[in-house]
Symmetry: C2
Subunit: 303 residues, 2 copies
Amino acid sequence: MRAWPKQVQIREVGPRDGLQNEDPVPTEAKIQLIDALSATGLQRIEAVSFVHPRAIPQMADADEVWAGIKRHPDIRYSALVPNVRGAQRALAAGFTEIEVVVSASDTHNHRNINRSTEESLADIAELVTLLHAANASAEVIIATSFGCPFEGDVPPERVASIVDSAVAAGADRVAFGDTTGMATPRRVVDVIGAVRENHPDLPLLCHFHNTRGTGLANIMAAMELGITEFDASVGGLGGCPYAPGATGNVATEEVVHMLHDMGIDTGVDLDRLVEVAALAQEIVGRELPSGVLRAGPRYRTIA
Amino acid sequence: MRAWPKQVQIREVGPRDGLQNEDPVPTEAKIQLIDALSATGLQRIEAVSFVHPRAIPQMADADEVWAGIKRHPDIRYSALVPNVRGAQRALAAGFTEIEVVVSASDTHNHRNINRSTEESLADIAELVTLLHAANASAEVIIATSFGCPFEGDVPPERVASIVDSAVAAGADRVAFGDTTGMATPRRVVDVIGAVRENHPDLPLLCHFHNTRGTGLANIMAAMELGITEFDASVGGLGGCPYAPGATGNVATEEVVHMLHDMGIDTGVDLDRLVEVAALAQEIVGRELPSGVLRAGPRYRTIA
Protein backbone atom coordinates (compact mmCIF):
# COMPACT_ATOMS: atom_id res chain seq x y z
CA MET A 1 0.00 0.00 0.00
CA ARG A 2 2.67 2.47 1.04
CA ALA A 3 5.40 3.31 -1.44
CA TRP A 4 8.16 5.40 0.04
CA PRO A 5 11.08 6.19 -2.25
CA LYS A 6 14.58 4.88 -1.54
CA GLN A 7 16.19 8.24 -2.24
CA VAL A 8 15.15 11.87 -2.06
CA GLN A 9 17.06 14.87 -3.33
CA ILE A 10 16.88 18.05 -1.32
CA ARG A 11 17.62 21.46 -2.73
CA GLU A 12 18.77 23.79 0.03
CA VAL A 13 17.14 27.21 -0.43
CA GLY A 14 18.11 28.87 2.87
CA PRO A 15 20.72 31.18 1.28
CA ARG A 16 18.07 32.48 -1.15
CA ASP A 17 14.45 32.04 -0.03
CA GLY A 18 15.50 31.95 3.61
CA LEU A 19 17.76 34.98 3.79
CA GLN A 20 15.51 36.94 1.42
CA ASN A 21 12.91 36.94 4.19
CA GLU A 22 15.29 37.80 7.05
CA ASP A 23 16.93 41.11 7.96
CA PRO A 24 19.97 41.65 5.68
CA VAL A 25 23.16 39.84 6.74
CA PRO A 26 26.76 40.56 5.66
CA THR A 27 28.14 39.08 2.44
CA GLU A 28 30.80 37.15 4.39
CA ALA A 29 28.11 35.47 6.50
CA LYS A 30 26.31 34.31 3.37
CA ILE A 31 29.53 32.90 1.96
CA GLN A 32 30.26 31.16 5.26
CA LEU A 33 26.76 29.68 5.30
CA ILE A 34 26.88 28.36 1.73
CA ASP A 35 30.37 26.91 2.23
CA ALA A 36 29.18 25.14 5.38
CA LEU A 37 26.14 23.79 3.53
CA SER A 38 28.38 22.59 0.69
CA ALA A 39 30.19 20.36 3.19
CA THR A 40 27.09 18.52 4.45
CA GLY A 41 26.48 16.20 1.50
CA LEU A 42 23.65 18.28 0.03
CA GLN A 43 23.52 17.83 -3.73
CA ARG A 44 21.74 21.04 -4.69
CA ILE A 45 21.88 24.59 -3.33
CA GLU A 46 19.91 27.60 -4.54
CA ALA A 47 22.66 30.11 -3.87
CA VAL A 48 21.32 33.54 -4.81
CA SER A 49 18.74 35.45 -6.79
CA PHE A 50 19.49 38.19 -9.30
CA VAL A 51 16.73 40.64 -8.48
CA HIS A 52 16.74 44.43 -8.41
CA PRO A 53 18.46 45.55 -5.20
CA ARG A 54 15.67 48.05 -4.51
CA ALA A 55 13.09 45.25 -4.67
CA ILE A 56 15.05 42.82 -2.49
CA PRO A 57 18.05 44.48 -0.80
CA GLN A 58 18.89 41.15 0.90
CA MET A 59 20.12 39.82 -2.46
CA ALA A 60 21.98 42.94 -3.66
CA ASP A 61 25.36 41.21 -3.25
CA ALA A 62 24.50 38.12 -5.34
CA ASP A 63 27.59 38.50 -7.55
CA GLU A 64 29.95 38.87 -4.58
CA VAL A 65 28.41 35.87 -2.80
CA TRP A 66 28.68 33.68 -5.88
CA ALA A 67 32.27 34.79 -6.53
CA GLY A 68 33.20 34.26 -2.89
CA ILE A 69 32.00 30.71 -2.22
CA LYS A 70 34.05 27.55 -2.67
CA ARG A 71 32.10 25.67 -5.31
CA HIS A 72 31.95 21.95 -4.64
CA PRO A 73 32.27 20.03 -7.95
CA ASP A 74 29.47 17.56 -7.07
CA ILE A 75 26.89 20.18 -6.12
CA ARG A 76 24.38 21.74 -8.49
CA TYR A 77 24.21 25.43 -7.57
CA SER A 78 21.32 27.45 -8.97
CA ALA A 79 20.06 31.02 -9.09
CA LEU A 80 16.60 32.50 -9.27
CA VAL A 81 15.87 35.32 -11.71
CA PRO A 82 12.78 37.50 -12.14
CA ASN A 83 13.33 38.73 -15.71
CA VAL A 84 15.69 39.02 -18.72
CA ARG A 85 18.00 41.45 -16.91
CA GLY A 86 18.36 39.00 -14.02
CA ALA A 87 18.89 36.08 -16.39
CA GLN A 88 21.67 37.99 -18.15
CA ARG A 89 23.36 38.65 -14.81
CA ALA A 90 23.04 35.00 -13.79
CA LEU A 91 24.44 33.78 -17.10
CA ALA A 92 27.27 36.29 -16.97
CA ALA A 93 28.10 35.01 -13.48
CA GLY A 94 28.36 31.50 -14.92
CA PHE A 95 25.17 29.85 -13.63
CA THR A 96 23.93 26.97 -15.78
CA GLU A 97 20.86 26.11 -13.71
CA ILE A 98 18.31 28.88 -13.40
CA GLU A 99 14.85 29.26 -11.89
CA VAL A 100 12.10 31.62 -12.98
CA VAL A 101 8.85 32.23 -11.11
CA VAL A 102 5.26 32.74 -12.08
CA SER A 103 2.35 32.81 -9.67
CA ALA A 104 -0.68 30.60 -10.23
CA SER A 105 -2.77 33.39 -8.74
CA ASP A 106 -3.26 36.48 -10.90
CA THR A 107 -3.62 38.73 -7.87
CA HIS A 108 -0.42 37.42 -6.31
CA ASN A 109 1.45 37.75 -9.61
CA HIS A 110 0.22 41.34 -9.95
CA ARG A 111 1.28 42.22 -6.41
CA ASN A 112 4.65 40.60 -6.98
CA ILE A 113 5.63 41.93 -10.40
CA ASN A 114 2.67 43.95 -11.61
CA ARG A 115 1.81 41.58 -14.44
CA SER A 116 -0.88 38.97 -15.02
CA THR A 117 -0.05 35.28 -14.87
CA GLU A 118 -0.56 35.12 -18.63
CA GLU A 119 1.83 38.01 -19.28
CA SER A 120 4.43 36.36 -17.05
CA LEU A 121 4.09 33.09 -18.95
CA ALA A 122 4.83 34.95 -22.20
CA ASP A 123 7.90 36.52 -20.55
CA ILE A 124 8.99 33.09 -19.37
CA ALA A 125 8.86 31.70 -22.91
CA GLU A 126 11.37 34.41 -23.92
CA LEU A 127 13.50 33.76 -20.87
CA VAL A 128 13.67 30.03 -21.51
CA THR A 129 14.83 30.68 -25.08
CA LEU A 130 17.55 32.99 -23.77
CA LEU A 131 18.68 30.46 -21.15
CA HIS A 132 18.71 27.52 -23.52
CA ALA A 133 20.69 29.56 -26.08
CA ALA A 134 23.31 29.97 -23.36
CA ASN A 135 23.22 26.24 -22.51
CA ALA A 136 21.55 26.83 -19.16
CA SER A 137 18.57 24.84 -17.94
CA ALA A 138 15.31 26.53 -16.96
CA GLU A 139 13.08 25.54 -14.07
CA VAL A 140 9.68 27.18 -13.78
CA ILE A 141 8.53 27.65 -10.19
CA ILE A 142 4.78 28.07 -9.88
CA ALA A 143 4.15 30.17 -6.77
CA THR A 144 0.88 29.90 -4.80
CA SER A 145 0.29 26.44 -6.32
CA PHE A 146 -1.58 25.29 -3.22
CA GLY A 147 -3.40 28.51 -2.37
CA CYS A 148 -3.09 32.29 -2.56
CA PRO A 149 -3.14 34.65 0.43
CA PHE A 150 -5.34 37.06 -1.58
CA GLU A 151 -7.55 34.79 -3.69
CA GLY A 152 -7.75 31.75 -1.38
CA ASP A 153 -7.96 28.35 -3.06
CA VAL A 154 -6.32 28.03 -6.48
CA PRO A 155 -7.98 25.46 -8.79
CA PRO A 156 -5.60 22.54 -9.46
CA GLU A 157 -6.69 22.70 -13.14
CA ARG A 158 -5.28 26.23 -13.30
CA VAL A 159 -1.94 25.02 -11.94
CA ALA A 160 -2.01 22.14 -14.45
CA SER A 161 -2.67 24.53 -17.33
CA ILE A 162 0.25 26.74 -16.24
CA VAL A 163 2.43 23.63 -16.30
CA ASP A 164 1.18 22.99 -19.85
CA SER A 165 2.27 26.51 -20.85
CA ALA A 166 5.62 26.21 -19.07
CA VAL A 167 6.38 22.93 -20.80
CA ALA A 168 5.26 24.38 -24.16
CA ALA A 169 7.70 27.24 -23.48
CA GLY A 170 10.49 24.72 -23.04
CA ALA A 171 10.78 24.45 -19.25
CA ASP A 172 13.14 21.64 -18.25
CA ARG A 173 11.57 21.19 -14.83
CA VAL A 174 8.63 22.50 -12.83
CA ALA A 175 8.44 23.29 -9.11
CA PHE A 176 5.33 23.95 -7.03
CA GLY A 177 5.73 26.74 -4.51
CA ASP A 178 3.65 26.71 -1.34
CA THR A 179 4.44 30.39 -1.00
CA THR A 180 2.47 31.12 2.17
CA GLY A 181 2.13 27.64 3.63
CA MET A 182 -1.40 26.87 2.47
CA ALA A 183 -0.71 23.31 1.31
CA THR A 184 -2.18 20.27 3.01
CA PRO A 185 -1.88 16.64 1.89
CA ARG A 186 -5.22 16.99 0.11
CA ARG A 187 -4.01 19.98 -1.95
CA VAL A 188 -0.83 18.07 -2.80
CA VAL A 189 -2.84 15.11 -4.07
CA ASP A 190 -5.13 17.43 -6.08
CA VAL A 191 -2.33 19.46 -7.72
CA ILE A 192 0.08 16.61 -8.48
CA GLY A 193 -2.82 14.49 -9.73
CA ALA A 194 -4.03 17.23 -12.09
CA VAL A 195 -0.51 17.92 -13.42
CA ARG A 196 0.45 14.27 -13.91
CA GLU A 197 -2.44 13.68 -16.32
CA ASN A 198 -0.64 15.52 -19.14
CA HIS A 199 2.94 15.17 -17.87
CA PRO A 200 3.57 11.70 -16.48
CA ASP A 201 7.38 11.99 -16.65
CA LEU A 202 8.12 15.68 -16.15
CA PRO A 203 10.63 16.28 -13.31
CA LEU A 204 8.60 17.88 -10.50
CA LEU A 205 9.80 19.44 -7.26
CA CYS A 206 7.77 20.57 -4.25
CA HIS A 207 8.64 23.64 -2.22
CA PHE A 208 6.68 23.66 1.02
CA HIS A 209 6.54 26.30 3.71
CA ASN A 210 5.77 25.15 7.23
CA THR A 211 3.62 28.16 8.09
CA ARG A 212 0.78 26.03 9.46
CA GLY A 213 2.72 22.94 10.53
CA THR A 214 1.88 20.76 7.54
CA GLY A 215 5.33 20.80 5.87
CA LEU A 216 6.42 17.23 6.61
CA ALA A 217 2.90 15.82 6.14
CA ASN A 218 2.88 17.40 2.67
CA ILE A 219 6.25 15.85 1.86
CA MET A 220 4.83 12.46 2.91
CA ALA A 221 1.83 12.95 0.62
CA ALA A 222 4.06 14.05 -2.29
CA MET A 223 6.46 11.12 -1.81
CA GLU A 224 3.53 8.71 -1.91
CA LEU A 225 2.74 10.21 -5.33
CA GLY A 226 6.28 9.62 -6.56
CA ILE A 227 7.80 13.08 -5.96
CA THR A 228 11.43 12.76 -4.82
CA GLU A 229 12.72 16.37 -5.03
CA PHE A 230 12.05 18.91 -2.33
CA ASP A 231 13.20 22.38 -1.38
CA ALA A 232 14.05 23.05 2.26
CA SER A 233 15.80 25.76 4.21
CA VAL A 234 18.43 25.10 6.87
CA GLY A 235 17.10 25.90 10.35
CA GLY A 236 13.79 26.84 8.77
CA LEU A 237 15.36 30.18 7.75
CA GLY A 238 12.91 32.64 6.25
CA GLY A 239 9.37 33.71 6.92
CA CYS A 240 6.12 34.63 5.29
CA PRO A 241 5.81 38.16 3.88
CA TYR A 242 2.06 38.21 4.58
CA ALA A 243 2.13 36.83 8.14
CA PRO A 244 4.70 38.62 10.29
CA GLY A 245 6.46 36.24 12.66
CA ALA A 246 5.22 33.14 10.84
CA THR A 247 7.45 30.21 9.99
CA GLY A 248 9.02 29.99 6.51
CA ASN A 249 10.36 27.07 4.53
CA VAL A 250 10.29 23.60 5.99
CA ALA A 251 13.60 23.12 7.88
CA THR A 252 16.14 21.03 5.98
CA GLU A 253 17.26 19.13 9.08
CA GLU A 254 13.65 18.27 9.97
CA VAL A 255 13.18 16.83 6.48
CA VAL A 256 16.46 14.92 6.53
CA HIS A 257 15.81 13.68 10.08
CA MET A 258 12.41 12.24 9.18
CA LEU A 259 13.51 10.77 5.86
CA HIS A 260 16.58 9.05 7.29
CA ASP A 261 14.51 7.46 10.06
CA MET A 262 12.17 6.20 7.33
CA GLY A 263 15.11 4.55 5.58
CA ILE A 264 15.18 7.13 2.78
CA ASP A 265 18.63 8.27 1.68
CA THR A 266 19.38 11.98 1.12
CA GLY A 267 23.19 11.88 1.03
CA VAL A 268 23.25 14.45 3.85
CA ASP A 269 25.24 14.16 7.09
CA LEU A 270 22.52 15.12 9.59
CA ASP A 271 24.84 15.97 12.47
CA ARG A 272 26.80 18.36 10.28
CA LEU A 273 23.61 19.85 8.97
CA VAL A 274 22.38 20.54 12.50
CA GLU A 275 25.66 22.39 13.14
CA VAL A 276 24.99 24.51 10.06
CA ALA A 277 21.48 25.22 11.35
CA ALA A 278 23.08 26.52 14.55
CA LEU A 279 25.36 28.70 12.41
CA ALA A 280 22.35 30.01 10.46
CA GLN A 281 20.66 30.89 13.74
CA GLU A 282 23.76 32.75 14.86
CA ILE A 283 23.93 34.61 11.54
CA VAL A 284 20.36 35.88 11.63
CA GLY A 285 20.44 36.46 15.39
CA ARG A 286 16.99 35.08 16.17
CA GLU A 287 15.74 31.68 17.31
CA LEU A 288 14.94 29.60 14.24
CA PRO A 289 11.85 27.35 14.30
CA SER A 290 13.58 24.02 13.66
CA GLY A 291 12.67 21.37 16.21
CA VAL A 292 15.62 19.17 15.29
CA LEU A 293 17.96 22.12 15.89
CA ARG A 294 16.43 22.71 19.32
CA ALA A 295 15.90 19.15 20.56
CA GLY A 296 18.56 17.34 18.53
CA PRO A 297 17.99 14.26 16.37
CA ARG A 298 15.93 11.46 17.96
CA TYR A 299 19.01 9.19 18.18
CA ARG A 300 20.82 11.50 20.63
CA THR A 301 20.02 9.75 23.89
CA ILE A 302 20.55 11.16 27.38
CA ALA A 303 23.45 9.50 29.19
CA MET B 1 -4.41 3.62 -2.62
CA ARG B 2 -5.01 6.34 -0.08
CA ALA B 3 -7.64 5.75 2.58
CA TRP B 4 -8.30 8.79 4.71
CA PRO B 5 -11.05 8.44 7.32
CA LYS B 6 -14.25 10.51 7.12
CA GLN B 7 -14.11 11.39 10.80
CA VAL B 8 -11.45 11.77 13.44
CA GLN B 9 -11.94 12.24 17.14
CA ILE B 10 -9.54 14.51 18.98
CA ARG B 11 -8.94 14.37 22.70
CA GLU B 12 -7.78 17.74 23.94
CA VAL B 13 -4.96 17.25 26.47
CA GLY B 14 -3.79 20.85 26.88
CA PRO B 15 -5.29 21.25 30.37
CA ARG B 16 -3.38 18.15 31.53
CA ASP B 17 -0.30 17.24 29.47
CA GLY B 18 0.08 20.81 28.28
CA LEU B 19 -0.19 22.70 31.58
CA GLN B 20 1.76 19.98 33.41
CA ASN B 21 4.80 21.05 31.39
CA GLU B 22 4.30 24.81 31.80
CA ASP B 23 4.93 27.06 34.79
CA PRO B 24 1.97 26.72 37.21
CA VAL B 25 -1.10 28.82 36.35
CA PRO B 26 -3.99 29.82 38.63
CA THR B 27 -6.94 27.48 39.16
CA GLU B 28 -9.35 30.04 37.65
CA ALA B 29 -7.29 30.17 34.46
CA LYS B 30 -7.50 26.39 34.10
CA ILE B 31 -11.26 26.50 34.58
CA GLN B 32 -11.55 29.31 32.04
CA LEU B 33 -9.45 27.32 29.56
CA ILE B 34 -11.44 24.09 29.93
CA ASP B 35 -14.75 25.93 29.70
CA ALA B 36 -13.59 27.66 26.52
CA LEU B 37 -12.46 24.32 25.08
CA SER B 38 -15.82 22.77 25.97
CA ALA B 39 -17.50 25.33 23.70
CA THR B 40 -15.49 24.49 20.56
CA GLY B 41 -17.16 21.23 19.58
CA LEU B 42 -14.38 19.02 20.96
CA GLN B 43 -15.81 15.68 22.05
CA ARG B 44 -13.14 14.64 24.55
CA ILE B 45 -11.04 16.58 27.05
CA GLU B 46 -8.41 15.19 29.41
CA ALA B 47 -9.15 17.63 32.20
CA VAL B 48 -6.72 16.88 35.03
CA SER B 49 -4.41 14.32 36.55
CA PHE B 50 -4.55 13.11 40.14
CA VAL B 51 -0.87 12.95 40.96
CA HIS B 52 1.00 13.79 44.13
CA PRO B 53 1.30 17.59 44.39
CA ARG B 54 5.00 17.30 45.27
CA ALA B 55 5.63 15.32 42.08
CA ILE B 56 3.63 17.64 39.81
CA PRO B 57 2.63 20.88 41.56
CA GLN B 58 0.92 22.06 38.35
CA MET B 59 -1.87 19.55 38.99
CA ALA B 60 -2.25 20.09 42.75
CA ASP B 61 -5.67 21.72 42.29
CA ALA B 62 -7.22 18.91 40.23
CA ASP B 63 -10.27 18.63 42.50
CA GLU B 64 -10.94 22.38 42.42
CA VAL B 65 -10.56 22.53 38.64
CA TRP B 66 -12.91 19.61 38.11
CA ALA B 67 -15.45 21.05 40.55
CA GLY B 68 -15.19 24.49 38.94
CA ILE B 69 -15.75 23.75 35.27
CA LYS B 70 -19.10 23.73 33.48
CA ARG B 71 -19.36 20.15 32.27
CA HIS B 72 -20.82 19.87 28.81
CA PRO B 73 -23.18 16.85 28.63
CA ASP B 74 -21.85 15.72 25.21
CA ILE B 75 -18.16 15.79 26.16
CA ARG B 76 -16.24 12.86 27.57
CA TYR B 77 -13.95 14.31 30.28
CA SER B 78 -11.16 12.11 31.55
CA ALA B 79 -8.43 12.11 34.19
CA LEU B 80 -5.00 10.56 34.31
CA VAL B 81 -3.90 8.71 37.44
CA PRO B 82 -0.50 7.26 38.41
CA ASN B 83 -1.60 4.77 41.09
CA VAL B 84 -4.39 3.45 43.34
CA ARG B 85 -4.42 6.60 45.45
CA GLY B 86 -4.89 8.73 42.33
CA ALA B 87 -7.57 6.38 41.02
CA GLN B 88 -9.48 6.65 44.29
CA ARG B 89 -9.35 10.44 44.11
CA ALA B 90 -10.51 10.41 40.47
CA LEU B 91 -13.39 8.05 41.25
CA ALA B 92 -14.39 10.07 44.30
CA ALA B 93 -14.45 13.17 42.10
CA GLY B 94 -16.87 11.39 39.78
CA PHE B 95 -14.68 10.57 36.77
CA THR B 96 -15.84 7.53 34.78
CA GLU B 97 -13.09 7.59 32.16
CA ILE B 98 -9.59 7.16 33.50
CA GLU B 99 -6.11 6.83 32.01
CA VAL B 100 -3.13 5.03 33.52
CA VAL B 101 0.41 5.15 32.18
CA VAL B 102 3.20 2.66 31.76
CA SER B 103 6.39 3.30 29.85
CA ALA B 104 7.55 0.88 27.16
CA SER B 105 11.09 1.68 28.22
CA ASP B 106 12.24 0.23 31.53
CA THR B 107 14.69 3.09 32.09
CA HIS B 108 12.02 5.72 31.46
CA ASN B 109 9.55 3.90 33.72
CA HIS B 110 12.17 3.75 36.47
CA ARG B 111 12.99 7.46 36.15
CA ASN B 112 9.29 8.30 36.16
CA ILE B 113 7.97 6.15 38.99
CA ASN B 114 10.91 4.07 40.19
CA ARG B 115 9.46 0.76 39.02
CA SER B 116 10.12 -1.58 36.12
CA THR B 117 7.70 -1.80 33.22
CA GLU B 118 6.73 -5.27 34.43
CA GLU B 119 6.01 -4.04 37.96
CA SER B 120 3.89 -1.21 36.55
CA LEU B 121 1.91 -3.67 34.43
CA ALA B 122 1.09 -5.66 37.57
CA ASP B 123 -0.03 -2.43 39.28
CA ILE B 124 -2.17 -1.60 36.26
CA ALA B 125 -3.96 -4.95 36.48
CA GLU B 126 -4.99 -4.02 40.03
CA LEU B 127 -5.96 -0.52 38.98
CA VAL B 128 -8.14 -1.74 36.14
CA THR B 129 -9.99 -4.06 38.53
CA LEU B 130 -10.57 -1.14 40.89
CA LEU B 131 -11.81 1.12 38.07
CA HIS B 132 -14.10 -1.49 36.56
CA ALA B 133 -15.58 -2.25 39.99
CA ALA B 134 -16.52 1.44 40.14
CA ASN B 135 -17.99 1.35 36.61
CA ALA B 136 -15.18 3.48 35.18
CA SER B 137 -13.34 2.63 31.98
CA ALA B 138 -9.58 2.21 31.90
CA GLU B 139 -7.26 3.36 29.14
CA VAL B 140 -3.65 2.26 29.24
CA ILE B 141 -1.25 4.85 27.82
CA ILE B 142 2.07 3.34 26.75
CA ALA B 143 4.67 6.09 27.07
CA THR B 144 7.85 6.10 24.92
CA SER B 145 6.10 3.83 22.39
CA PHE B 146 8.11 5.30 19.52
CA GLY B 147 11.44 5.77 21.29
CA CYS B 148 12.96 6.54 24.68
CA PRO B 149 15.20 9.54 25.45
CA PHE B 150 17.44 7.24 27.56
CA GLU B 151 17.36 3.91 25.71
CA GLY B 152 16.83 5.15 22.15
CA ASP B 153 14.76 2.93 19.87
CA VAL B 154 12.11 0.77 21.54
CA PRO B 155 11.38 -2.52 19.73
CA PRO B 156 7.81 -2.52 18.34
CA GLU B 157 7.48 -6.13 19.58
CA ARG B 158 8.02 -4.86 23.11
CA VAL B 159 5.22 -2.32 22.69
CA ALA B 160 3.01 -5.06 21.24
CA SER B 161 3.72 -7.34 24.19
CA ILE B 162 2.82 -4.53 26.62
CA VAL B 163 -0.46 -4.16 24.77
CA ASP B 164 -1.00 -7.92 25.22
CA SER B 165 -0.50 -7.49 28.98
CA ALA B 166 -2.72 -4.40 29.17
CA VAL B 167 -5.53 -6.18 27.34
CA ALA B 168 -5.09 -9.26 29.54
CA ALA B 169 -5.40 -6.90 32.53
CA GLY B 170 -8.72 -5.68 31.16
CA ALA B 171 -7.76 -2.38 29.51
CA ASP B 172 -10.67 -0.94 27.55
CA ARG B 173 -8.45 1.09 25.23
CA VAL B 174 -4.76 1.60 24.55
CA ALA B 175 -2.92 4.82 23.67
CA PHE B 176 0.60 5.19 22.30
CA GLY B 177 2.52 8.09 23.79
CA ASP B 178 5.27 9.74 21.76
CA THR B 179 6.55 11.17 25.03
CA THR B 180 9.58 13.03 23.70
CA GLY B 181 8.66 13.40 20.03
CA MET B 182 10.72 10.53 18.63
CA ALA B 183 8.03 9.17 16.32
CA THR B 184 8.30 9.27 12.55
CA PRO B 185 5.88 7.71 10.04
CA ARG B 186 8.13 4.64 9.89
CA ARG B 187 7.92 4.12 13.68
CA VAL B 188 4.13 4.56 13.50
CA VAL B 189 3.86 1.90 10.81
CA ASP B 190 6.11 -0.46 12.80
CA VAL B 191 4.31 -0.06 16.15
CA ILE B 192 0.73 -0.10 14.86
CA GLY B 193 1.57 -3.03 12.58
CA ALA B 194 3.06 -5.06 15.43
CA VAL B 195 0.12 -4.31 17.75
CA ARG B 196 -2.61 -5.00 15.19
CA GLU B 197 -1.43 -8.60 14.67
CA ASN B 198 -2.95 -9.72 17.98
CA HIS B 199 -5.53 -6.95 18.41
CA PRO B 200 -7.27 -6.16 15.12
CA ASP B 201 -10.23 -4.39 16.73
CA LEU B 202 -8.84 -2.85 19.93
CA PRO B 203 -9.56 0.91 20.15
CA LEU B 204 -6.18 2.62 19.68
CA LEU B 205 -5.25 6.27 20.10
CA CYS B 206 -2.03 8.05 19.16
CA HIS B 207 -0.53 10.83 21.24
CA PHE B 208 2.17 12.62 19.27
CA HIS B 209 4.51 15.35 20.38
CA ASN B 210 5.79 17.74 17.72
CA THR B 211 9.28 18.03 19.19
CA ARG B 212 11.00 17.35 15.86
CA GLY B 213 8.29 18.59 13.48
CA THR B 214 6.84 15.20 12.54
CA GLY B 215 3.53 15.50 14.43
CA LEU B 216 1.17 15.92 11.49
CA ALA B 217 3.13 13.51 9.27
CA ASN B 218 2.72 10.89 12.00
CA ILE B 219 -1.01 11.53 12.17
CA MET B 220 -1.17 11.04 8.38
CA ALA B 221 0.67 7.72 8.69
CA ALA B 222 -1.57 6.59 11.56
CA MET B 223 -4.76 7.55 9.71
CA GLU B 224 -3.65 5.56 6.70
CA LEU B 225 -3.45 2.57 9.08
CA GLY B 226 -6.99 3.14 10.29
CA ILE B 227 -6.32 5.10 13.50
CA THR B 228 -8.98 7.78 14.03
CA GLU B 229 -8.33 8.96 17.61
CA PHE B 230 -5.60 11.45 18.45
CA ASP B 231 -4.49 13.53 21.40
CA ALA B 232 -3.58 17.17 20.80
CA SER B 233 -3.00 20.23 22.91
CA VAL B 234 -4.50 23.65 22.19
CA GLY B 235 -1.84 26.10 20.99
CA GLY B 236 0.72 23.31 21.31
CA LEU B 237 0.75 23.90 25.08
CA GLY B 238 3.39 21.92 26.92
CA GLY B 239 6.98 20.98 26.34
CA CYS B 240 9.47 18.19 26.67
CA PRO B 241 10.97 17.55 30.13
CA TYR B 242 14.24 16.32 28.60
CA ALA B 243 14.75 19.07 26.01
CA PRO B 244 14.32 22.53 27.54
CA GLY B 245 12.55 24.91 25.17
CA ALA B 246 11.39 22.14 22.86
CA THR B 247 7.88 21.92 21.48
CA GLY B 248 5.32 19.70 23.23
CA ASN B 249 2.11 18.09 22.01
CA VAL B 250 0.98 18.59 18.46
CA ALA B 251 -1.25 21.72 18.44
CA THR B 252 -4.97 20.94 18.31
CA GLU B 253 -5.73 23.73 15.84
CA GLU B 254 -2.94 22.54 13.51
CA VAL B 255 -4.48 19.05 13.53
CA VAL B 256 -8.03 20.32 13.02
CA HIS B 257 -6.88 22.76 10.33
CA MET B 258 -5.17 20.04 8.30
CA LEU B 259 -7.93 17.46 8.77
CA HIS B 260 -10.75 19.83 7.78
CA ASP B 261 -8.90 20.83 4.61
CA MET B 262 -8.58 17.12 3.83
CA GLY B 263 -12.36 16.74 4.17
CA ILE B 264 -12.11 14.92 7.50
CA ASP B 265 -14.70 15.91 10.09
CA THR B 266 -13.66 16.57 13.71
CA GLY B 267 -16.78 18.34 14.98
CA VAL B 268 -14.61 21.28 16.04
CA ASP B 269 -15.23 24.94 15.19
CA LEU B 270 -11.72 25.92 14.06
CA ASP B 271 -12.16 29.69 14.42
CA ARG B 272 -13.33 29.27 18.00
CA LEU B 273 -10.48 26.88 18.70
CA VAL B 274 -7.94 29.43 17.43
CA GLU B 275 -9.43 31.95 19.85
CA VAL B 276 -8.93 29.44 22.67
CA ALA B 277 -5.32 28.95 21.54
CA ALA B 278 -4.85 32.72 21.90
CA LEU B 279 -6.35 32.46 25.40
CA ALA B 280 -3.98 29.60 26.25
CA GLN B 281 -1.06 31.74 25.10
CA GLU B 282 -2.25 34.59 27.30
CA ILE B 283 -2.62 32.23 30.27
CA VAL B 284 0.90 30.81 30.08
CA GLY B 285 2.43 34.16 29.09
CA ARG B 286 4.77 32.83 26.40
CA GLU B 287 4.51 32.50 22.65
CA LEU B 288 3.06 29.08 21.83
CA PRO B 289 4.45 27.15 18.84
CA SER B 290 1.21 26.79 16.88
CA GLY B 291 1.52 27.97 13.28
CA VAL B 292 -2.24 28.19 12.82
CA LEU B 293 -2.46 30.43 15.88
CA ARG B 294 0.25 32.72 14.47
CA ALA B 295 -0.65 32.79 10.77
CA GLY B 296 -4.38 32.01 10.98
CA PRO B 297 -6.18 29.27 9.04
CA ARG B 298 -5.38 29.05 5.32
CA TYR B 299 -8.86 30.28 4.38
CA ARG B 300 -8.31 33.69 5.99
CA THR B 301 -7.43 35.74 2.93
CA ILE B 302 -5.95 39.23 2.90
CA ALA B 303 -8.46 41.86 1.77
